[in-house]
């Protein structure tokens, strides 16, 4: 008995049956019970060959290895920094991973990252019980000086980035702001206050209207009106 119960991109909710038969393989946010595969979150079903999964439409950020994040320094510790990453878990940035520079024993760590600083970093390790380690020693990962932090639902991050970075590229070009998008739903923007506020407004529009047709045109128009 082998059967697919959903079409690609169909909206599903927890408990919805996606497929039946051992031929099918559940991936992210789908689970198997016996022969059957069910959705575990509300989202869009995705069927790629034998792999059945759900792309979530809501939810907090849960860290994954290799994710590129925007974080905020919440503690300077003897052996590194503690970083808030918009998830239920704070992450550790060990001394050796903070920068490519050599840091001598007893150095003032706030020179590299101070309390309240924003940072762009990569997840290098995550344990079963969700202890997270970051690294910012390689480019493009770095300290982000000044600027503001903007929140967007992590599930909307791909929409903000756009195909090959087209959406965020358009916003950068039009506003002249530096923008760094973290997969954790934190976006750092730096420019003039007007442009920072505009970037914030545009990101909120993308968040609310990510599912509507003609979003790119709408954003283009907003950017032109505020030149």
């Amino acid at each position: 008995m082998e059967k697919l119960y959903v079409s690609d991109r169909e909206i599903v909710v927890p408990g919805d049956i996606l497929a039946e038969g051992i031929e099918y393989l559940p991936s992210g946010k789908a689970y198997r019970e016996g022969e059957k595969i069910f959705a575990s979150v509300m989202g869009m079903a995705s069927v790629k060959g034998r792999v059945v999964k759900v792309i979530p439409l809501a939810g907090r950020y849960m860290p994954k290895k290799m994710d590129a994040l925007v974080g905020k320094v919440i503690a300077v510790l003897p052996g590194g920094w503690s970083i808030e990453i918009n998830s239920p878990y704070a992450a550790d940035l060990p001394l050796a991973e903070g920068t490519s520079e050599y840091i001598p024993r007893g150095a003032d760590l706030t020179r590299f990252f101070d309390l309240g600083d924003y940072i762009f970093a990569e997840v290098t390790l995550i344990t079963e019980t969700k202890f997270v380690k970051l690294s910012a020693s390689r480019r493009p990962y770095r300290r982000l000086r000044g600027g503001i932090l903007i929140e967007i639902s992590p599930v909307k991050v791909p929409r903000l980035i756009g195909k090959q970075g087209s959406m965020v590229g358009m916003i950068k070009d039009a506003t002249g702001c530096e923008i760094v998008v973290g997969q954790n739903g934190w976006v750092w923007a730096k420019g003039t206050p007007e442009k920072e506020a505009l970037v914030e407004k545009i990101i909120k529009t993308i968040e609310v209207e990510s599912h509507k047709k003609g979003l790119t045109d709408k954003i283009k128009k907003m950017l032109e009106e505020n030149k």
Binding site: G146, I148, L149, P193, E194, E196, A197, K201
Partner: protein
Amino acid sequence: MDQYKTLVTSLLEKGLRHDSRKLMDYRPIEVEVNPIPRANGSARVKIGNTEVIVGVKFDVGTPFPDTQDEGVLMVNAELSPLANPDFEPGPPGPAAVELARVVDRGIRESHCIDFTKLCIKEKEKVWMTFVDIYPMNDDGNLLDAAALAAVIALKNAVLPKYDEKEEKVMFKEMSKKKLDMSKLPVLVTFAKNASYIFIDPDRKEENVLDTRLSVSSLADGKLVAMQKGGQGTFTKEELLNIFDLAVEKAKEHRKLIK
């Protein structure tokens, strides 16, 4: 949040807000009258994404010793953790108490309710009017939303029947008696950041503002209650300016009171 304060301040310098409002613009206000059937009167007010419901309940109790021929007004606010990720469950804290007391003062000091009409038997039995404030979503300026909702709920409240023989309230049977709300106090809140004064701060602005002033006024321009919050200061000129603006802005809100 410091960087955000810089942003708010530098926009204010140019007469702008982070959400494109002008300094003296409110967010859109929506009003719903009597959304709660079980309440004797109720209102839901939305100011932008801030949403508050207020309900009125009547009961009969004994008057206070110093006002033995007057009904009693009790205003209470519950900052349920449902409305804001920073609210915590438990008994009302300072923010909830302030919210309730500011709303209370506007109603009480405007004398919009004739409490002598709420006396059933002098020294013994009077109507108690309970006004309960529940934010459903806090996106800043709960004060104005709660005050407006409270006045609308009171204006639309109907007293239950009172059985004189049995001396008890028939909670399930409504009389035709309403509160005679001759005047309508309207609360308007101003925020100050650096030297700039603006109206109706949202939650992001509340997080960075220096100080605020809430002013309750009547249609004839009389001021009836005020509350300053936050650690900053105002100059006399600023205050006088705020008083004029408060009365002016209150006119707009008064149109929403049904």
